[in-house]
């Protein structure tokens, strides 16, 4: 079991002829993912690593002959909103938006459009998601041979605003023998399609998942939302949060920010110390070093 993806999931890559998209297409194919088409306007008839390229999503769907499950959107920021809307209009329900620096209003609009059409956006500014040894959608984990080392099947669901930390955390869980059920790089922007709290019901419904690990850093409200969700839903899943950036609470570090756009905020609730308090009060275990994560998870699931 897993969330959002499985061995039969089909997807396309919008903007497939771009340099990064060519690379991630190969990575996904090598990992066993079913990339059934690509879209770049004006490039119909080409192939990228054997994947046929079309001018529109509708052409890709028609060629596939049945509904396509997902799309990775890698087009430039100014065109991303239209690409996402085109994908959703084509019946696609899972959209991974890799592109960063998309105008905030465009993101708000496409997230709302997805909600209205019962589609789910992961990102923007994310590396996608992976089900170990089954399939991956996006550049998460890097080339297939590297992803195979970092991600082994297991019992922990991973969610992280940082793409790199998704793999770092998963690698530590794999090394400890716990493994990963599904890992999701949710994206580092201020407005994203899927927050921790919004993905929790999926993990809750996945029998294989026995615990959750999230990556947390100062800034943003997602941890507060997760704490509220946890308190309100009495989840069966213990959660461990890796809290980075506590040093920023030091007086001498005032004014410094992390790189993710979602962290560049100034609210009092956003400091690492406040977040730790809020998470712990909701029963979420907080650790401040990556190497503490596996033991914290083992303690929570009693293994």
């Amino acid at each position: 079991m897993s969330i959002l993806l499985n061995k039969d999931t089909t997807f396309i890559v919008q903007g497939i002829t771009g340099r990064e998209a060519v690379n991630l297409t190969k990575e996904c194919l090598d990992y066993g993912s079913k990339v059934v088409g690509g879209v770049t306007p004006g490039r119909k008839g080409r192939e990228v690593h054997g994947v046929p390229v079309f001018d529109t999503v509708a052409q890709a769907v028609e060629n596939h002959g049945s509904q396509i499950d997902g799309s990775i959107v890698t087009v430039p920021p100014g065109f991303t909103k239209d690409a996402v809307i085109e994908a959703i209009a084509g019946g696609i329900k899972l959209i991974v938006v890799v592109t960063e620096r998309i105008p905030r209003g465009d993101v708000a609009e496409m997230v709302e459009f997805a909600d209205m059409n019962e589609a789910r956006i992961i990102g923007p500014n994310c590396l996608g998601l992976i089900v170990p040894e089954v399939c991956k959608m996006g550049g998460i984990g890097g080339p297939a041979k590297d992803a195979a080392k970092s991600y082994k099947p297991g019992v922990v669901g991973v969610m992280s605003r940082s793409g790199g930390m998704t793999t770092e955390i998963s690698s530590s869980l794999t090394a400890a023998g716990l493994g990963v059920s599904t890992a999701v790089s949710i994206g580092g922007d201020a407005i994203i399609g899927s927050t921790y709290a919004e993905l929790m019901p999926y993990f809750e419904a996945d029998e294989e998942t026995q615990a959750i690990v999230i990556y947390s850093e100062p800034g943003g409200r997602m941890e507060a939302q997760l704490a509220d969700w946890q308190a309100e839903n009495n989840s069966r899943l213990p959660i461990v949060a890796f809290m980075a950036g506590k040093f920023m609470d030091d007086e001498s570090m005032k004014g410094m920010t992390f790189g993710h756009a979602g962290t560049i905020v100034e609210g009092k609730e956003d400091s690492a110390t406040e977040k730790i308090k809020r998470l712990e009060s909701a029963g979420i275990t907080v650790v401040e070093r990556i190497d503490e994560i596996p033991d914290a998870v083992k303690e929570r699931i009693g293994s």
């Binding site: 905030r104 209003g105 609009e109 201020a190 943003g220 409200r221 905020v265 609210g267 609730e269 956003d270």
Partner: protein, 78 residues
């Protein structure tokens, strides 16, 4: 009260009287908004128009204000 808007701004904020003139609410709004859209003044709440495009649609301001007195107006159509 409505903030003046710019072309690139994707939301507007409407705050009705008497809430807009309430200095206590102004402090509260300034505190809850993580991106500095509200400024507390002795006359009440000032909406900082230059910060409107920083909105992350967290709705903390709507929750902080008396019910129905503050509205986030989306200037886009999904």
């Amino acid at each position: 009260m409505s903030a003046e808007t710019m072309d690139s701004v994707f939301i507007d904020i409407e705050l009705d009287e008497p809430a807009a003139s309430d200095p206590e609410l102004a402090k509260k709004l300034e505190e809850v908004c993580t991106v500095g859209i509200f400024k507390a003044t002795e006359n009440g709440t000032e909406i900082v128009q230059g910060q409107l495009d920083e909105c992350v649609l967290c709705y903390l301001c709507e929750e902080a204000a008396p019910e129905g007195s503050l509205r986030i107006i989306k200037k886009y159509e999904a």
